[in-house]
């Protein structure tokens, strides 16, 4: 399988490099869970892929025509936010999934959802963003998707992730062992990809 994401000796950070050099290649169509302790740079790697963090040295390349979506670790909601669930999906370029749990949220205001509902909606949007494109071109980055999920929506979240079409590539971080186990992802410790020396 060709790599959809290829990092070669990259040093990542914001104003200055704080992670790397790091080299890894993620084959197209695989489902990876990136593991490591807090502060090890998992989120930073995802942000660098979407251009929210800087590549100070080395080369970070995506396969041509790759469409990348990201579920960030947290998304603080304004106290007053007159947008509905349907508006959010529209903004993310996602068609509303047929999933019942999501359908229920389409008419609800974002600032009136519970933390779990908000996380579930964001997850569904990240998973469905540009889903009319060929799955092989899609790279979905999920940063701690199990955060804020209460028991009521946890099973829905697992169901949505498991329903990703074959060919789409998933790279996620999580500290939640049960969640990872339910999804049966390949686990990769970030530390293993740090260049020696």
């Amino acid at each position: 399988m060709p790599a959809i994401l290829d990092a070669r000796s990259v040093c990542l950070g914001f104003d200055r490099p704080v992670l790397g050099p790091l080299s890894l290649a993620i084959p197209q169509g695989t489902r990876w869970a990136l593991t490591g302790p807090n502060g090890s740079g998992k989120s930073l790697l995802l942000k660098a892929v979407t251009g929210q963090a800087r590549v100070h040295r080395g080369q970070l390349a995506l396969a041509p025509r790759t469409r990348t979506s990201l579920l960030a670790q947290d998304h603080a909601r304004p106290r007053l936010w007159p947008l509905s669930g349907a508006d959010w999906l529209h903004a993310m370029g996602a068609r509303p999934p047929q999933h019942q749990g999501i359908q229920r949220l389409l008419r609800q205001r974002l600032d009136q959802m519970s933390g779990g509902q908000w996380q579930l909606l964001r997850l569904a949007a990240a998973l469905s963003s540009a889903d009319t494109d060929p799955p092989e071109q899609r790279l979905i980055l999920l940063d701690e998707p199990a955060n804020h999920l209460d028991a009521a929506v946890r099973a829905d979240a697992i169901e949505l992730i498991a329903a990703l079409p074959p060919g789409a590539t998933l790279l996620m971080t999580s500290h939640d062992d049960e969640f990872l186990q339910a999804l049966q992802l390949e686990r990769h410790a970030l530390a293993e990809y740090l260049d020696a020396g």
Partner: protein, 258 residues
């Protein structure tokens, strides 16, 4: 119904109000209300400066408003810098007014609003800009929708740089035109308060835009209906009416079922 002499000011004011309500909804969604204050203040400063220099008001107000927006867009500080720029604009107007008699008259005009004296030029400007706003509406919405996403990232491409710059230029022009026609306090009230009130009432983005329009137009009509028969300046009456309507919108959510 307004008399024949007042049809032009009425039409110009109503059109500008609708444009300002749209701009206000956009600023609310972008979380940029402080920028509006700074921009409006410097548009007024530009108008006052133009009166001192005997230059045409609109280009100078647009130029200064544009310069302020360019400065604010370069910074991530969404509160302190716009507030400092707003205060600097206020100081500039006060100094100009203290030193030039023409500036003093112009400053009073910007503060009180000159809606009753709006002529065909203002009406055409408002109609033309309203038409431009209609044509741009879908692109403006796209920018405002996309502005909600960060730190999440969509796989679909965001608005192009050209569209983003168009949106900024449109906002500057809307605020300058609104301040010129309605007066600065009334323009800012129309910009900020209906969108805030609408945010309590709406159930979706579309609802927010519609409620913003509804509250802004209702505020304009009520203020017009009060200020003319009572022979009061329009701008302060509009400010008070806009505050009352936004307050009512806020209160209504407390008593809404469900």
């Amino acid at each position: 119904m307004p008399g024949d002499l007042l049809l032009i000011p009425f039409g110009a004011g109503l059109l500008v109000t609708m444009v300002m309500a749209l701009a206000g909804a956009g600023l609310f969604l972008r979380g940029s209300v402080w920028q509006a204050l700074a921009l409006g203040q410097w548009a007024a400063a530009g108008g006052v400066l133009a009166s001192v220099l005997h230059w045409p008001v609109l280009p100078v107000a647009l130029l200064l408003g544009g310069a302020v927006m360019a400065l604010l867009q370069r910074s991530r500080d969404r509160e302190r810098l716009p507030l400092a720029v707003f205060l600097a604009g206020l100081a500039a107007i006060t100094l100009l007014a203290a030193n030039f008699s023409r500036a003093s008259l112009a400053a009073a005009a910007w503060a009180e609003g000159q809606l009753y004296f709006a002529g065909p030029a203002e009406l055409w400007a408002a109609a033309g800009f309203g038409l431009i706003s209609l044509l741009l509406a879908s692109r403006l919405l796209r920018v405002w929708r996309h502005a909600q996403l960060a730190p999440d990232v969509a796989a679909t491409p965001g608005p192009s740089v050209r569209i983003r710059l168009t949106e900024v230029a449109w906002l500057v022009a809307a605020i300058v035109l609104g301040s010129m026609v309605l007066g600065l306090p009334a323009a800012l009230a129309t910009l900020l308060l209906p969108a805030w009130g609408a945010a309590h009432l709406a159930r979706s983005l579309r609802g927010h835009l519609l409620w913003s329009q509804g509250l802004a137009v209702a505020g304009f009509l009520i203020a017009w209906g009060i200020s003319l028969p009572l022979d009061q300046p329009f701008a302060p009456v509009l400010v008070l009416v806009a505050i009352a309507l936004a307050g009512l919108a806020r209160l209504s959510t407390r008593y809404r079922p469900g």
